[in-house]
C-alpha cells in the first residue's frame, strides 16, 4: 500500500515536472518580455516626470493662493482647438511639477488625436505640448499591457500571467524532489553550467515565489479582463450615469470656477486628493474630480466626486473605503500589480523581484538547452541560441520604440501586430507538427513491433 502511494506520488511529481517544463518552454519568452517591460513600467510616472521636467522644461511655480491655477490656460486652449471632443486635467503629485491637460481633438479632416499640454499651475500658462500616443510613457505602458498588439495583445499578456502562475505553482510542487539533500540557499560545487543554472533557478524561484504569484494572478486578471467581463457579465463597479440637462454646446460654454470647485470637493470629501479633473461636454453639466486617498492600496484615481457645474453641489461621491469588499477587490488588482502603494522604495523592490521571473525564464531555457545537448550528444554551443533570442527580443522592443518616437504609434502597433501574430502562429504550428510527428512515429513503432 505504502509502495503504491509512493509510486503515485512519484508519478504525480513527474507530471508536475512535465507541465513545468513544457509550459515554461513555450511561454518563457513571453514571461521574459513581460518581466523586463514590467520592471521598467513600475517607474512610468517617475520617468515621465523627468521627461516633462528636463525635455519639455515643464515646471510649475508656487500658486499665490495655495490652489492650482489653470482656468486661463484651459480657456485659451479650448478656443484654440474648438473641435475638441473632451478634456481632463491631471494635477501633479509634486507642486513643482506641471499640470497636464489631456485633450482629445477631432479635426474636421484627419484622425482623432490625443494631445497633452503642460501648464504652470502657479502662473497659469501653457509651457509645451506633445502627442500622447508617441510618448515614452505610452510606449512603456502599451508594450507591457498589450505588447503593442491591439488585436488581442492584452489577452496574450493575461495568458502570460496564467502561465507564470502555473510554472510558479508546479515549481513549488516539484521543489522538494529537485533539492533532495541540498539545503536552501546552498549551491553545489561544480563547473557544470546546467547544474549552476539549476541551483540559481530553484533558489531564486523559491525566494520570490509569493511575489511572482501575486504578479502573475493580478496580471492574468488585468489582461483577461475584457474576456472575463464578457463571459461572467462583470462590469466596473464604480458607476455614475449623469442626466442630460442642456445642449452640448451650452455645456461647453459654462466657465468653471476651479477654486470654488476644489473647495466644494474638499468640503464634501475631505480625504480625497484630487488628481484628475474632468468637465462634461455632453450636456450633463458636471465636474468630476477623481483622486486617491493617501495610505490606501487601490488603483489610481478610483475615488471620485461629481459636482454640478451650475451650483457646485455634490451629485455623487465614490469613497472606496465605504464600498463593499467586491469593489475593493476589483480596484486593488492594478495597485498590487504595479506596486503603486509604497512610494519609490516599494517600486524598486517590485522592479528587482519582477526581474526574477525574467531570469527564471532565461535560466530555465539554459537548463533545457544544456540538458538536450547532453542527451542528444550535440556539439553546438547552447549559449549561442540564448544570446540570439535575447538580442532579437531587445532588438524588437527597441525597434518598436524607435518607430513610435520617429513615425508614430499607429505604424509601430501595426508592425508589432504582424510580428507577434506571425510568431505565435509559427510557434503553435511548430508545436502541432512536432506533436503529430511524435505520435505518428510512436504508432508506426508500435505496429511494427506488434507484427
Amino acid at each position: 500500500m505504502a509502495k503504491q502511494s509512493g509510486k503515485a506520488e512519484r508519478n504525480g511529481k513527474k507530471w508536475f515536472w512535465q507541465l513545468h517544463h513544457w509550459v515554461g518552454l513555450y511561454t518563457g519568452i513571453l514571461i521574459g518580455v513581460l518581466s523586463l517591460t514590467g520592471a521598467v513600467a513600475v517607474f512610468i510616472p517617475e520617468i515621465d516626470g523627468l521627461i516633462q521636467r528636463y525635455h519639455y522644461n515643464a515646471l510649475s511655480s508656487a500658486p499665490s493662493n495655495g490652489l492650482p491655477q489653470f482656468s486661463k490656460s484651459i480657456d485659451s486652449l479650448t478656443r484654440q482647438f474648438p473641435d475638441y471632443r473632451s478634456w481632463s486635467i491631471r494635477l501633479p503629485h509634486n507642486p513643482r511639477h506641471a499640470a497636464v491637460l489631456d485633450m482629445t481633438i477631432r479635426p474636421k479632416t484627419g484622425r482623432t488625436q490625443r494631445m497633452e499640454f503642460f501648464i504652470d499651475i502657479g502662473k497659469d500658462r501653457v509651457l509645451g505640448h506633445r502627442k500622447w500616443q508617441n510618448s515614452l510613457a505610452n510606449y512603456l505602458r502599451q508594450i507591457h499591457v498589450r505588447l503593442y498588439d491591439g488585436i488581442w495583445g492584452r489577452q496574450l499578456v493575461g495568458i502570460g500571467g496564467i502561465a507564470l502562475a502555473f510554472v510558479a505553482l508546479t515549481g513549488l510542487l516539484i521543489y522538494g524532489n529537485f533539492m533532495k539533500k541540498q539545503a536552501w540557499p546552498n549551491f553545489r560545487k561544480t563547473l557544470d553550467t546546467r547544474i549552476r543554472m539549476a541551483d540559481w533557478h530553484k533558489i531564486l524561484g523559491m525566494s520570490a515565489l509569493a511575489f511572482n504569484l501575486v504578479i502573475a494572478l493580478t496580471g492574468a486578471w488585468l489582461g483577461l479582463q475584457p474576456w472575463l467581463a464578457r463571459w461572467f457579465d462583470i462590469s466596473a463597479p464604480r458607476k455614475y450615469k449623469s442626466e442630460i440637462l442642456m445642449e452640448a454646446k451650452d455645456d461647453k460654454e459654462i466657465v468653471v470656477d476651479w477654486d470654488v470647485a476644489l473647495r466644494a470637493s474638499h468640503e464634501a470629501f475631505p480625504d480625497l486628493k484630487p488628481l484628475q479633473l474632468l468637465v462634461s461636454s455632453n450636456g450633463a453639466g458636471t465636474i468630476t474630480l477623481r483622486g486617491n486617498i493617501p495610505g490606501t492600496i487601490y488603483e489610481r484615481d478610483v475615488n471620485m466626486i461629481v459636482l454640478s457645474k451650475i451650483d457646485y453641489k455634490p451629485l455623487f461621491k465614490y469613497d472606496l473605503r465605504e464600498q463593499p469588499i467586491s469593489h475593493q477587490l476589483y480596484y486593488i488588482q492594478e495597485a498590487l500589480h504595479f506596486g503603486d502603494f509604497g512610494g519609490l522604495p516599494l517600486k524598486v523592490l517590485y522592479a528587482i523581484l519582477g526581474l526574477t521571473s525574467g531570469f527564471l525564464s532565461i535560466s530555465g531555457f539554459v537548463i533545457f538547452l544544456f540538458r538536450r545537448k547532453k542527451k542528444m550528444r550535440k556539439t553546438d554551443n547552447p549559449w549561442k541560441a540564448i544570446i540570439v533570442y535575447t538580442l532579437l527580443t531587445i532588438l524588437f522592443l527597441s525597434f518598436i520604440a524607435f518607430i513610435t518616437f520617429t513615425i508614430g504609434y499607429n505604424l509601430a502597433s501595426t508592425i508589432a501586430e504582424i510580428v507577434i501574430n506571425t510568431l505565435l502562429i509559427g510557434l503553435i504550428s511548430y508545436a502541432l507538427v512536432r506533436f503529430s510527428i511524435k505520435k505518428f512515429s510512436q504508432k508506426r513503432q508500435f505496429t511494427s513491433t506488434s507484427k
Binding site: 513549488l172 521543489y175 522538494g176 520570490a208 515565489l209 509569493a210 509604497g342 522604495p345 516599494l346 523592490l349
Partner: protein, 84 residues
C-alpha cells in the same frame, strides 16, 4: 576527530523554509508599505510588529529551526490578519 555530516531535516528544508520565504515576500512588501504610510497613519504598534516579524522570519530561515520557523510564521500571520 572525524566530522559528522550536518543533519538534513527534510521537512524543514522542503516545506517550512519555502513557506517562511513565501511569507517573507509578503512581509517585506508590507513593511515598506507600513514605513511609507507611517507619516500619515502614525501607527507605531503596527510598524513595530511588522518589523519584528521581518526579523523573526529572516532569523528563523537562517537558523532553520522548525520551532522558530513555525513560531515566526504564526506570528506574522497573526500580524497580517490583525492588520485587516
Amino acid at each position: 576527530m572525524k566530522k559528522t555530516a550536518k543533519q538534513f531535516d527534510v521537512t524543514a528544508e522542503h516545506y517550512y523554509v519555502p513557506a517562511a520565504l513565501f511569507l517573507l515576500n509578503i512581509n517585506v512588501v508590507h513593511l515598506i508599505y507600513a514605513y511609507a504610510t507611517f507619516p500619515m497613519e502614525n501607527r507605531w504598534e503596527q510598524l513595530t510588529l511588522i518589523s519584528f516579524a521581518a526579523i523573526a522570519l529572516t532569523g528563523s530561515i537562517v537558523a532553520k529551526n522548525k520551532l522558530c520557523l513555525l513560531g515566526a510564521m504564526a506570528f506574522y500571520l497573526f500580524v497580517l490578519i490583525a492588520a485587516f
